[in-house]
Symmetry: C2
Subunit: 181 residues, 2 copies
Amino acid sequence: MSLADTVDLLRRTPVVVAALLDGLPDAWTDTPDVAGGWRPRDVVGHLISAELADWYPRVERIIADGTTKPFDTFDRFAHVERDVDVSLDRLLDRFAELRSLSLEHLEELVIDEADLDRRGIHPALGEVTLRELIATWAVHDLDHVSQIFAGMAGSHDANVGPWKAYLGILLRRDDPAAVPR
Amino acid sequence: MSLADTVDLLRRTPVVVAALLDGLPDAWTDTPDVAGGWRPRDVVGHLISAELADWYPRVERIIADGTTKPFDTFDRFAHVERDVDVSLDRLLDRFAELRSLSLEHLEELVIDEADLDRRGIHPALGEVTLRELIATWAVHDLDHVSQIFAGMAGSHDANVGPWKAYLGILLRRDDPAAVPR
């Protein structure tokens, strides 16, 4: 894993999410990925929370304190009350601003290959490396953005008729192990 | 389901896929979504095949022949040999060109709400409506683009350390029913 390649992906996420959602009709954006799950706006809210309180703050903690001070815990549901009156388009802008700031800060730290082996303490997982933290930042983006697609597909579940049998993204909302024809 | 809302999504897909993949380092793009599955380039190749031989040609078949002539069968693996020497960036351009052409043709047909109830014959599924075909076109985009995210995440499976326990997109590559912590 190279730091530059990972930052390349991190830079793309707000662009991808905006290309998908900015100005998109509500018909596509009001459905959660699974029953009781997250709508696209919840996912973007969660990505905002993670920029504020998870990724870059943990990078700083590793650099400043190493394994002497664990990461603060992270509230996965911070968006629920915070964003209740915020439009999806505004959330997209906010995420883009925060991601851009995080990457600026990361660049100012001038992390080199040796730094990536530095260690911190995750409150539940124990010892982790800076390399693992930065890789997880990127894969977490991919995980949650793919969740947006499931919610969007779910919004049109009733419209595809018999083709549903071929569409794994719909079948898996009911049964995660479903295999399309 | 409104035709305009669906076309809005169909227009976005090539933009989203290019924002994600155009010029992205190979470290992110050489891994299939699951063992034996598709890499991002295979997904884009399949989306190209569907523009060429599936979606718009089937719209035309419904308008021209209704239920008197079934759709031609569609080869889901047409990309495998066709695209073997084509770069990912070139595939992205090709997909964008073809999607743009399809939507131009669709617009020229001047489909109205009543037309969406017109019927055709799918070779395996039987009678389907134009409405279902167009909804499936969009949900099929979402299904396959989300597959790209799984392959990209999989390329960094070995880099996230103990965080893998939280990352459903990685856990489900090994066990579709896995539930992250």
